[in-house]
């Protein structure tokens, strides 16, 4: 079986051969791996990779998995498969062309109104998460088409708080 996985933003192509119920071999580039299922213990998946045993923590957010190795989490998803959740959890880069919070947050205030003209870099909203405030700025100059969030609303990355229509392009 062939996998095309995205590991923290980089593609890793894996060719997998199932050996028996508890074992598969894999090739990544010119590296060969033999992987054995040792067991599951206290929420950790214990694998042996080329004879070296590792306990791996696995979380399953939307659209992929958080794989924790040696205390470091790392996000893996399978681009070739159907998304099982609401799509990729993490934006590919900074979603710098939208007014959206970088983390789940609560809206502290919205500083513009519908119809306002805003310039690039103008603060348009402040959100708060865990007692830390973050200001969101207009990604470009334009006209505020709609305000989609009010003070006290819980918002998530991807939610567009203020819709801005580019002007003069």
């Amino acid at each position: 079986m062939e996998y095309n996985l995205n590991v923290e933003g980089e593609t890793v192509a894996v060719s997998v051969q199932e050996e028996d119920r508890d074992r598969f071999s894999a090739r990544i580039g010119d590296r060969e791996y033999s992987v054995e299922k040792i067991g599951l213990m206290d929420g950790l998946l214990i694998l042996s990779v080329n004879g070296k045993q590792t306990g791996i923590g696995i979380g399953d957010p939307d659209g992929g998995r958080d794989v924790v190795i040696n205390g470091c989490p790392c996000f893996v998803n399978d681009d070739s498969m159907q998304p099982r959740g609401r799509g990729g959890r993490r934006p590919a880069g900074k979603a710098s062309n939208m007014v959206t919070p970088p983390m789940p947050a609560v809206v502290v205030r919205v500083m513009v109104n519908e119809g306002d003209t805003v310039s690039e870099g103008q603060p348009v909203a402040v959100v708060s998460a865990m007692k830390m405030e973050t200001t969101l700025y207009a990604p470009f100059g334009g006209r505020v088409v709609s305000i989609n969030a009010a003070e006290g609303d819980k918002v998530s990355p991807g939610d567009i708080l203020v819709d801005i229509e580019k002007v003069g392009e």
Partner: protein, 496 residues
């Protein structure tokens, strides 16, 4: 002794306080907000009272509701933890007025020490070293120049009404003074409408060293030695340890004595922390007193064996401190790392959310004070502290190795933490050498980025889940027996 204590807090500190209460045979009452109905502190307590909405003002900061919960459940005392109402003199007074013991210092002490100028005066009067500076800021330039000679260089020109660095100048030489005074004053005038400035000794590359004190109602005051808390990010401590690598035994005793002196000067009762700035020459200056249990109290507990929360409760119940200074003999070295919900790959931005996978490390000399569990949704509205990982070992080097290994075994997914960052800090040369100053992070980790773990292993782990997770219903079933989960049924949870 109290029959029942209400814990007016949440998260790891509430859980930690509940543990000591249980050991003492004292009943525990948790309070919780809407967002915390499934929180660990709520579940750990013997009783739990819902006190209101998610906003702190409607719950954890709402004195009336908390007092109401204590009355309803018959709690004889309230432990405020840290944060929220812990250093609120009005709340302490309200407890007193309601016939409920506030586990902390008397209200007057809280308000005295909460006011920086009052606290500074108390300490100066009590013979505790304060940062040398002009206590009277209404002096003319000539007077200021004289004061500058007394204070010595380098010094700091500060705007009396200032803040945020505006109207502030570091003056390194006498001949720069006049210019700095003029420019600071004019900047202050522009910014705050008031050009008054004052002088203060500038402490270069300071360390933040604090001393834990305990004082009973009978005038017995002892200290539990120091904690070195210089490693901070955005003025938030992230790593603390004891003993401090900066202190000689002589200086340690001197600072301990100063802390006891500070506590006595303030009329302190209960557990408190006297914070000092320590400069490179070994001079130290009073900074402030934290009139509460400190986040980093576990490092002191680990080296002294003393349960500080137990002492707080005993003192609040009117017991005499049975410890003399000579009884307190710290042993070994302890380090704490704070585990915040933050995303190191995203500029350490807050990272609330649901904890999908969680397995903290354990083992000899490892303590994990924790306020969350797997499956819990970390609310967006409160402090990001999830847990504290603390290690104790024979000496600092072994403690570092222990912490490094413990961090490597810290498994948390779903919510970001700075575990990889902390491991790099602990494992760094300057940390190993004990060169921990308040500019540590800015100096040594200005542009830190997480290194990605072995991508191949991550990919193989992902495939292992896909492959062996899928078969749980089929192949897994053949070995299933009623009531006993096969590993792959369990695995099924996080692959649903």
């Amino acid at each position: 002794m109290f029959e029942k204590i209400l814990i007016a807090n949440r998260g790891e500190i509430a859980v930690r306080i509940i543990k000591t209460c249980k050991e003492m045979g004292i009943g525990t009452v948790a309070v919780y907000s809407d967002a915390d109905s499934k929180s660990l502190h709520r579940m750990c307590a013997d009783e739990a009272v819902h006190i209101g909405g998610t906003a702190p003002s409607e719950s954890y900061l709402n004195a009336d509701r908390i007092i109401g919960a204590a009355k309803k459940t018959g709690a004889g005392a309230i432990h405020p933890g840290y944060g929220f109402l812990a250093e609120n003199a009005d709340f302490a007074r309200l407890c007193e007025d309601s016939g409920i013991v506030f586990i902390g210092p008397p209200p007057q002490v809280i308000s005295d020490l909460g006011d920086k100028t009052v606290a500074r005066r108390i300490m100066a009067d009590g013979g505790v070293p304060v940062i040398p500076g002009a206590d009277n800021s209404f002096s003319g330039p000539g007077e200021l120049a004289k004061q500058a000679d007394i204070i010595g260089y380098p010094l700091l020109v500060k705007a009396s009404c200032g803040g945020g660095g505006k109207g502030m100048r570091v003056v390194r030489h006498k001949d720069e003074l006049a210019d700095s005074l003029a420019s600071a004053s004019s900047e202050a005038k522009a910014a705050f409408g008031n050009g008054t400035v004052y002088l203060e000794r500038y402490i270069e590359r300071p360390r933040h060293v604090e001393v834990q004190v305990l004082a009973d109602r009978f005038g017995n005051t002892v200290h539990l030695f120091e904690r070195e808390c210089s490693i901070q990010r955005r003025h938030q401590k992230i790593v603390e340890e004891t003993p401090s690598t900066a202190l000689t035994q002589e200086l340690r005793e001197e600072m301990g004595k100063a802390a006891v002196q500070a506590a006595k000067a303030a009329g302190y009762v209960n557990a408190g922390t006297v914070e000092f700035l320590l400069d490179e020459s070994g001079s130290f200056y009073f900074l402030e007193v934290n009139t509460r249990l400190q986040v980093e109290h576990p490092v002191t507990e680990m080296v002294t064996g003393i349960d500080i929360v137990r002492k707080q409760i005993e003192i609040a119940a009117g017991r005499r401190l049975e410890l003399s200074q000579a009884d307190i003999k710290p042993g070994g070295h302890a380090i704490e790392c704070r585990i915040y919900a933050e995303d190191p790959a995203n500029g350490f931005a807050p990272s609330p959310g649901r904890i999908a996978c969680f397995r903290p490390p354990d083992g000899p000399g490892i303590r994990h004070d924790c306020g969350v569990y797997a499956g819990f949704t970390v609310p967006v509205e409160y402090d990001p502290i999830l847990a504290k990982l603390v290690v104790h070992a024979e000496n600092r080097q072994i403690a570092i190795e222990r912490m490094k290994n413990a961090l490597s075994g810290y498994v948390m997914a779903g919510v970001g933490t700075a575990v990889p960052f902390l491991r790099d800090v602990i494992d760094s040369k300057p940390f190993r050498k004990g060169e921990t100053f308040t500019d540590f992070i800015d100096t040594h980790f200005p542009q830190w980025q997480p290194s990605i773990p072995d991508r191949d292993v991550a990919a193989l782990a992902f495939i292992a889940c896909e492959m062996w997770g899928e078969v749980s219903g089929a192949k897994g079933a053949e070995t299933a027996r009623p009531g006993i989960p096969t590993p792959w049924e369990t695995l099924g949870h996080w692959r649903l």
